[in-house]
Symmetry: C2
Subunit: 358 residues, 2 copies
Amino acid sequence: MAARFAASPSGDLGDPRPLPPHATSEVLTRYRRLMEPALRQAVTSLHPWGAHMAAFTLGWSDIDGTPLDEHGGKSLRPALAMLCAQAAGSPPDSAVPGALAVELVHAFSLVHDDIIDSDERRRHRDAVWKAFGVGPAVLTGDALLALAISRLAATDNSIAMGYLSRALVELVHGQTEDMAFENRPWNGDDAVTAEEYSGMAARKTGALLGCAAAVGTALGGGSAAQAERMYGMGRSLGLAYQMVDDLLGIWGDPAVTGKPVYSDLRAGKKTLPVLSALAADDPAAGKLEDLLLTGDLDDDTVRLAADLIEAAGGADVTRELAARHAGLAVEALGACFPGATELHELRDLCELIVNRSH
Amino acid sequence: MAARFAASPSGDLGDPRPLPPHATSEVLTRYRRLMEPALRQAVTSLHPWGAHMAAFTLGWSDIDGTPLDEHGGKSLRPALAMLCAQAAGSPPDSAVPGALAVELVHAFSLVHDDIIDSDERRRHRDAVWKAFGVGPAVLTGDALLALAISRLAATDNSIAMGYLSRALVELVHGQTEDMAFENRPWNGDDAVTAEEYSGMAARKTGALLGCAAAVGTALGGGSAAQAERMYGMGRSLGLAYQMVDDLLGIWGDPAVTGKPVYSDLRAGKKTLPVLSALAADDPAAGKLEDLLLTGDLDDDTVRLAADLIEAAGGADVTRELAARHAGLAVEALGACFPGATELHELRDLCELIVNRSH
């Protein structure tokens, strides 16, 4: 089951026109190409060993340094930054240092996250720590973060730097919450609440999307109020993003996501589909709780757990909430940049986040 | 043998007055007290789990959270930042956000360094990764770095932020060089040269000391030229610092340094005493090379290696170079802030760096 966008009364994205196939992926490609020369130049400035590991991290080369035709991630954040700069009335390349910075911070967070979660696979390849060792991976993450900060600092735009530093603090706070959740019980007074989940997701995933939008707005000459509004928009979008990630972490196709099937369930992650299912007034909720409390989960048990989560409505609730938060993000974009020609592409980006399969 | 300051013709610190006992440590205590409330407030803003690990890292509490009377490091960098702000004509607390930032970046680099080097002990206690696990330690380092950036970004001083980001990039570059040196041979065309060592040490250790001085100068209202000069001064001081660290890493008293005896020799580190000894025109140099090429070193062999390094003059050369670079730093301070009353304390700080036993 792939996570599909589910329009709901509160989650209507407000544009009934069908999305042309690959339109959004063309937008992403266009903006990635705008940013990439500066990103490659930045990576080249690293120590040769650091540059080698960074190129692997960004999907540009194999473990032995052989260049790859593919690229790494979806580059959603750079596109968001540059589209916001345009919506604020400037050419997209005004936001390149910001686009670069958020892409590098994103890469930093993935490299360190995979160490923290002991995740061995990322984007169909070995995680950086698995490929080069834990120490070199720690250093690679640090190098990517240092580059991000220095390239944005070079703009002398202290509003943009303020958003980057705010997002970094929130990101690490959210990662710490996520890690702390793993030691919390599935039931009882100390169980993780949906509210706590939302706070964690807004920080862990939303802050950097908010940063991308706010930094792009600031570098594009938008007002302080617009930048602040876009930071909030990104937090909504990040909530939607994380919820879809949760769905993919349980029901995503490993061939598409590049991660093992049911990986989040095996890891005991307190994701929204599980938390919603446990809180549901449904017999499946009780069965799920019993199952989770038994501890170590084998292949058959995780499959049964996934079915119980779906039966108790955990997937539907999560999909609806994701759509609602994406809808709020689209609303905020329209209110912040009324009449901007980039609103279509920004809306497509929000839809892509909710409709993606990886 | 403890590393002792060796005045040489080129390394004369230019002030024959004897250092009053504990004078410098009183200066360090005074400035640490000035910074500490803001540092504690910053740490408190972290996730409770992150704050717990950060408090352990900074030496404020034990692994179970019991508060300790002691403090962690020497707080050289905060003192340097605040003294430079004063020399530039402002009260020391104008530099508190900078002092805080460099202390946090220093702590971040130690936490990640201990993971990278698999060092189990730091300041007479378990390293953070040993105490809490590798994942939590990675996150603790990230949290300290994020805090550093956000507190300095809040000053809106883009010159100061420029120095912090520059130092971060250099620091990571130097750490990568240091790590890459470990895979280089002891002899032949690919052996590490003294020049390469200096570049690494200036980046790994000098950049953050330079950052402390430059950020303090900038926050204290000094000119851009003064800040740049102080960045260079800090690089000289950092070279001296790293050279003394190398001496302590071989001959330091484990009871004082908190690290195992001969630890750098066992780890095969390409430190200056070894590189200088290998390059010396002395029979001991050849014997040392033979010994190092045998590979794994047991207790007797490392002791013999240390003796050969000393016999070949590796310790003397390192001490003289450390004094020379500290002398250059003192000269730069005098030229940058002629007549400043803080010059005495700044000179004492430089002497402390060369004369320290841990």
